[in-house]
Structure formats: C-alpha cells, structure tokens
Symmetry: C2
Amino acid sequence: MTAEQIQGLERFYRGNLMNSLTGFKSLSLLGSVDSDGLPNLAVFTQIFHIGADPPLVGVLFRPAAPGMHSLANVKQTGCFTLNHVPLGSEEKAHWTSARWTESEFAAVGFTPEYLPGFPAPFVAECPVRMGLCTAEIIPIPLNGTTLVVGRVEHIFFPEDCREADGFVNLAEAGIMAGTGLDGYARVSEIRRFTYARPGLRPQPLGSGPGADG
Amino acid sequence: MTAEQIQGLERFYRGNLMNSLTGFKSLSLLGSVDSDGLPNLAVFTQIFHIGADPPLVGVLFRPAAPGMHSLANVKQTGCFTLNHVPLGSEEKAHWTSARWTESEFAAVGFTPEYLPGFPAPFVAECPVRMGLCTAEIIPIPLNGTTLVVGRVEHIFFPEDCREADGFVNLAEAGIMAGTGLDGYARVSEIRRFTYARPGLRPQPLGSGPGADG
C-alpha cells in the first residue's frame, strides 16, 4: 500500500492500521499530579530508551485535547512516573483512557503510592515502575506532538526477575506489551543472545527456555 | 534504586538494566543503502508511532560509532525501511549487530528486495515492513542521540492478519517484540478493548481469545 492509498483511508481505519504497523510497544501507566495535588493516570505506549548514562527515557505526547492532563501536569511539576501494566490489569489500564473528570486512580481502581520528596504518584499494583524528572521538552512541529525526555530518578522491579548481568526479565515479571491503539499483548518467552561478532553465530544467553549453550 | 545508585553501577550492568526497564519494544531490521548502492541492515528497537495523518514513524539512533552506517546512509539517501523480525529469524536479526565489513544481508542470510524508485532495501523474509522517507532529523544534545522522523511511503502486511477496522494482529503475523539490548520476545496473545468511556467497563473487542462479548 502506498502513501497515497494510506492517505485515502477512513480516519479511524488509518489510525488502527498505522498504530499497529509500527510493532509492539511499551505499555505503561503515566502517573502525574497537577499543582493542586490532583493525581492523574493515563495509559501510554510511545515510550522508549534514550540512554543509560545518564539514564534517559523518552515519552511522546499527542497534541493536547480537552480532558488530557498528563502533559500539562508534567510541565507544571517537572516529574512523572511510568508504571508498566501487568497481566490482569489490562482492562483497568485501558479504562484510564476514558475522559474522567475525577482522578483515574479512584475511578478505575488503582492505588496511588508516593515517595517522600517526589510529587508524582506511582501505581502500587505495578511491579516494574520508575520515577522521572523532565530533562527536556522537544516539540515536533510536523504534527503537534511533544517529546518529553525524562531523567530516571527512581526504579523499582522484582529482584527475582533480575539476571546476573542486570537484565530484568519482563515476561517473568508479568509485564505486557502494547500494540495498536487498544491491544494488550501477553509475552510468553524471551530469548537472549551473546554479543554479536562477525563470523561467529550468536549463542543463547541466560537461563530462559532458549538457553541451551 | 535511586539515580545515584544507578549511576554507580558498572557500565554494562547499567546498560542491561536501563534498557530492559523501559518495557517491550518494536523489533525491526532497518534497511538502508549508501550513495554507492551498498545495502546495510541493522537491528533496531527504538521505533515509535508519531502520527497517522500524515503517517509518521520515529527512530532513535545512538551516537555514531565506527562500523555503524545506518544513520549516515539515511542522511545521504533520505530513505530507509523497517522490517519487523518474525519468529525464527531472531538469531540472524541479532547477528546483524556485529561490525561486519560486508553487507549484513549476505553475511547473516537475509534477502534484499527492492521497489522501483525506492533505493533502500526491504527484507524479503519479513512479512510486515514499511518504506520511509526522512521528514525531519532532530538531534538530542543531552546524550548525542538522533531522532529521525520518517514519513511512511510504503507498507506491506499479510492481509489475513488485518482485522475489519484496520488493526493488524502482529502476533498472528508471527512478529516478535524486543526487550533490553539482546532479548527477543514471543507474543502469544493479544486482547483488544472497546473505546473507553467513563462509567462503562471496557468490553473485549475482535475475534481473539479474549473476545467474549
């Protein structure tokens, strides 16, 4: 299908198609708070690793619309949390995307959790989560989206899912992947490989089901 | 774990930890070509949806290092392809990350495929793929990475994985997710939900295993 054919598609059909074709995504609840202390929670999938030294994470925000508070909160308070959605919480996570007038925590049934000195709420039900401070805000004029680069200040994960070299097995932690605008994917198995070198086939790494060498 | 503790970790340990904590990722082979016509292929995970109208996709490139040609090629020719990694191709996909002096296509055993008038090579073994032209290049000075925004020019996917509303089921297409620096994840099941509204629990959508309403 060409650009011209894509452009000719009905709007919602095109949205579903293009959102699913970019591949699987992170799937996180973004916790934030406004300057009056009202907590907000919204499901996000456009999250990506920018660097490990310093630890930086990027989040792409859609153009602001009525009822969307996350970006305004991040700009006001300079911090937010990312809480990866675990298996079994996908329905509630999806429900946060409704245009609630009250806080999504109470509305859909997630529990806010706070760290001293860090205003944005974490989600108690999510075993893998991070707290971030805004390091840079980059507008993307092409379509009105905004890239927020966050500096990682706090991380939490189940210790028994961490492998000896620092890798955290998100499948063992029960974390889901996102796909499209409304898809929640179960990950059943992770294979890792050794550092790749020319002329030497990569070998399985770690203790997962794919590891035989 | 706090920012200070993360900063104190050994470099490779921190890289594994931070790369895995951002959640599951797209997993694609980025095809490009230099001005002499030499094709290049490299595995990428920092790929995200920027918009559907016009269709825009973002790819984050790490700071250039010897033996890395993808970003230079994209800047030279203004185009590239993204080819999602299917189950069974993960070992070859990983092997493209070695510092080959020859083209990765021949070295690891993928087949380049060309469209008339579009110089960047597609990967014949990948059922879901897209061809893009560079729309904007955004340097991220914080750590020397580069965000390339690509305009989608061509898309290919298996028709029998496309649902009636345009959603393409990547699990049915056998597409994998990425995790961390060297993890390849099998997705076993996708649940979709109806458009979220306050006061009305989201209902299962589509024909997948989660659909009962």
